[in-house]
């Protein structure tokens, strides 16, 4: 079939006009008490949920516990992928961040099975990445828990979760968020 250039060009122009809006992302800055700690970019058509510092009380024990700001992002119309960011107060080093992770991982996934622990750099900062699998509500889960050493005695804890059966294209989105991670100091 012979396709003439003159017939194709207008179609390309129309696609270009509409397609430019799909590229681009939205920066989010994590702050604590007015101080910016780090920032990252949210993929298009993802939803952001943010909290703030507060205390949650255990209804059985009546013991309040401090909770730092948690920012969660995920695709708007799909719960197959999820990412959470927190910079807990009082955690100053990667080792402290790993201890913090050990305290939240039992809530995030059941029967976690760590496959590898890697020391790397994220946004030019030293980081430790823990990859593994587990289950949540009867569904298999791939998780990546990351601790990034931020300047001035802070860390960023990043959890990325991909449920079984999720669109594999979300891996690219999750990696794009990691690639956009920058310290704000």
């Amino acid at each position: 079939m012979h396709i003439r250039l003159a017939a194709v060009l207008p179609t390309c122009a129309a696609l270009l006009l509409g397609g430019t809006q799909a590229v681009g992302d939205t920066p989010i800055t994590y702050t604590d008490q007015g101080r910016a700690l780090f920032s990252f970019a949210v993929p298009d058509f993802w939803a952001v949920r943010t909290g703030g510092p507060r205390e949650i009380e255990d209804t059985e024990l009546g013991d309040p516990r401090a909770v730092a700001r948690v920012i969660g992002v995920r695709p708007v119309t799909d719960d197959g992928a999820w990412m959470g960011f927190v910079s807990p107060a009082g955690v100053a080093s990667i080792d402290g961040g790993l201890r913090y992770l050990q305290d939240i991982d039992k809530f995030l996934v059941k029967d976690p099975d760590v496959s590898e622990t890697v020391t790397t750099q994220i946004g030019g900062l030293p980081a430790r990445v823990i990859r593994g699998t587990g289950t949540r509500e009867g569904r298999g889960v791939n998780f990546t828990a990351t601790v990034v050493d931020l300047p001035r005695d802070r860390v960023a804890v990043i959890i990325a979760v991909l449920r079984d059966g999720a669109d594999p294209a979300y891996v690219d989105d999750l990696n794009a968020v990691f690639a956009s991670f920058r310290s704000a100091q």
Binding site: G18, R65, V67, T77, G84, R99, D103
Partner: protein
């Protein structure tokens, strides 16, 4: 040729615009929404600042317990009554100035009235 290209451009652009108009009909909020978010809630629910006995194989000093003593009793308000309100002075205000008592003179019949005929 130019005319044909123009026609095709308008057709293609029109079709593109129509597809975007149609896709605008299904809103972006369709789907699961944010009602239930297990991972977010789990990330909040940490034990780091919490000294409950859960199998944590980390050697870390426990969190200091809050003092068990009761807080001091609330100070009672002073029992003394407030001083009585100052009463208004009992003296009556001076009487209103009375109007002058002089009456107008009694009306007299006009003197120039013609007397009835006898």
């Amino acid at each position: 040729m130019t005319h044909k290209l123009l026609k095709r451009s308008i057709l293609a652009l029109g079709l593109g615009a129509a597809s975007f108009t149609l896709s605008a009909c299904d809103g972006v909020t369709v789907g699961v929404g944010y009602g239930y978010d297990p991972f977010y809630d789990s990330m909040l629910w940490n034990d780091y600042y919490h000294d409950v006995d859960i199998d944590i194989d980390v050697d870390r000093p426990g969190r200091p317990r809050p003092p068990v003593a009761k807080p001091p009793a609330r100070p009672k308000p002073p029992v003394a009554k407030p001083p009585a309100r100052p009463r208004p002075p009992v003296a009556k205000p001076p009487a209103r100035p009375r109007p002058p008592v002089a009456r107008p003179p009694a009306a007299r019949p006009p003197i120039h009235r013609p007397a009835p005929r006898r």
